[in-house]
Amino acid sequence: MNKRTKSPRAEQQFFNDPALDRFMGAFMALATEHYVLLDRVRAMEKQLTEAGRLDQEALDREPDEIERAETSADRAAFIEALMRPLLGEQDALGASGKFSLK
């Protein structure tokens, strides 16, 4: 049977800026991965609860102030990582802006 080599053709473009087409692809890959993980955590909780190794109610309960304080630094670090790139600032000193060798 004939086998075809993978087509090197460019993907179709839908947005005015093709970068957005590609970014959406990465975004949906992450969203899928996130759902797969969610599904797995849920399945694990179910198995552990059924085996008597996990207190599902305790897990679902609202965390108290102490626990929330304990995790707040981690939350802040996550937010920092997520949002800092939006500011468009350098982490290491160097030339700025868009460059061209045209």
Binding site: Q12, F15, D21
Partner: protein, 345 residues
């Protein structure tokens, strides 16, 4: 990839597809409004540059891409299970291959509906296609009769054919209802794809069906004698062929039908308005279906009549109890029944 992760990812993509085909489709339709557009180009002019349309189009293309390819796609999933899957088929099916057959170029130049490698080039392609086809019509619930059963109902209401030819049978989904419901009839099922035919033939053996053969053959050039069948049928095949090939298929259907025999195809054709036509043509492009638009633009009824058939009819087909043929509430395929009779004399 484990089965749980694969199922979770595919379910996730299917939920996204359902959202796309209902909420997102409706938003797009509402943004276009009821009146104004006379032609497909008018609709294009009105909405193609909108962000909503761009998002809609992106999701249509890429949800299908992710269904087949990518980390949790049907192809990598089945590829990992290749040895087990192929060993199921191992008992030789000589009828499923025709040594002298060369696959037509129209068929091999494109990976139809974004199935990498098409439905023919890889031994596991039949399994991939079968799994994918379970969710082709996402809105039809599992409890509901599927489109193939409903199409068979329609034919059997008319009469009980004794000799049936299913052209482009794929992995046998369109063939099975005839085989099961007409145990005393003989069914010949042909396709170009060996991997699909082998799966079809395996499933028929499992079901102990002895009134069917699955054979590799071009529907435009079969080896059946003239007048062999009282029903020639196909499901979702015509739109995958360029116009010249469709003509050849019609000629061949005419030849192998007995005088008075019926030709009944199920396909995508009747589009109720220009908005739906615009959506359909875009779908064709985004889903790698290059012959879908030319097919939708044929003068089908006169073409069929020009081949010698009489009583040519082209009518919308309701694929589910839940759809309204004139309604525009959700995205759907423009299911259509194309039927005609070979004259008695």
């Amino acid at each position: 990839m484990n089965d749980r992760a694969f199922t979770a990812a595919q379910d996730f993509l299917l939920s996204a597809k359902t959202y796309w085909s209902t909420t997102m489709y409706r938003a797009l339709r509402d943004s276009h409004g009821e009146e104004g557009s006379q032609t497909v180009a008018d609709v294009a002019q009105a909405i193609e540059d909108s962000t909503l349309y761009q998002v809609y189009a992106w999701y249509e293309r890429h949800l299908q891409r992710m269904k087949y390819a990518g980390r949790y796609g049907l192809v990598p999933y089945h590829n990992e299970r290749r040895i087990d899957l192929l060993s199921e088929l191992d008992s030789e099916d000589s009828e499923c291959t025709q040594e002298s057959l060369t696959l037509p170029a129209y068929y091999t130049v494109v990976d139809i509906h974004q199935h990498p490698g098409g439905v023919w080039s890889d031994g596991i392609a039949g399994f991939v296609y079968e799994r994918g086809a379970r969710t082709t019509t996402p809105l039809a619930g599992a409890a509901e009769k599927d489109v193939h059963e409903r199409f068979t109902d329609l034919i059997l209401e008319e009469w009980k054919p004794a000799n049936i030819l299913d052209m482009g049978c794929g992995f046998g989904k369109s063939t099975q209802p005839f085989v099961r419901r007409l145990p005393d009839s003989t069914v010949e099922a042909i396709d170009l794809s060996v991997p699909c035919l082998r799966l079809a033939s395996y499933a028929a053996r499992e079901a102990q069906a002895s009134n069917v053969r699955f054979r590799q053959m071009d529907a435009c050039r079969t080896d059946y004698e003239a007048g062999s069948f009282d029903l020639v049928t196909s499901t979702m095949v015509l739109h995958e062929m360029p116009p010249k090939t469709i003509e050849d298929l019609l000629d061949e259907a005419f030849r192998v039908l007995t005088p008075g025999g019926r030709m009944i195809h199920l396909d995508f054709y009747c589009l109720p308005d220009v908005f739906r036509r615009f959506i359909h043509y875009g779908h064709a492009r985004r889903n790698n279906e290059p012959y879908m638009q030319p097919f939708a633009e044929l003068q089908l009824s006169s073409l069929v009549s020009s081949k010698g058939f009489v009583d040519a009819q082209v009518a919308p087909f309701q694929e589910s109890d839940r759809v309204d043929l004139d309604g525009n509430e959700a995205w759907r395929f423009p299911w259509t029944v194309i039927s005609a009779t070979k004259p008695k004399t």
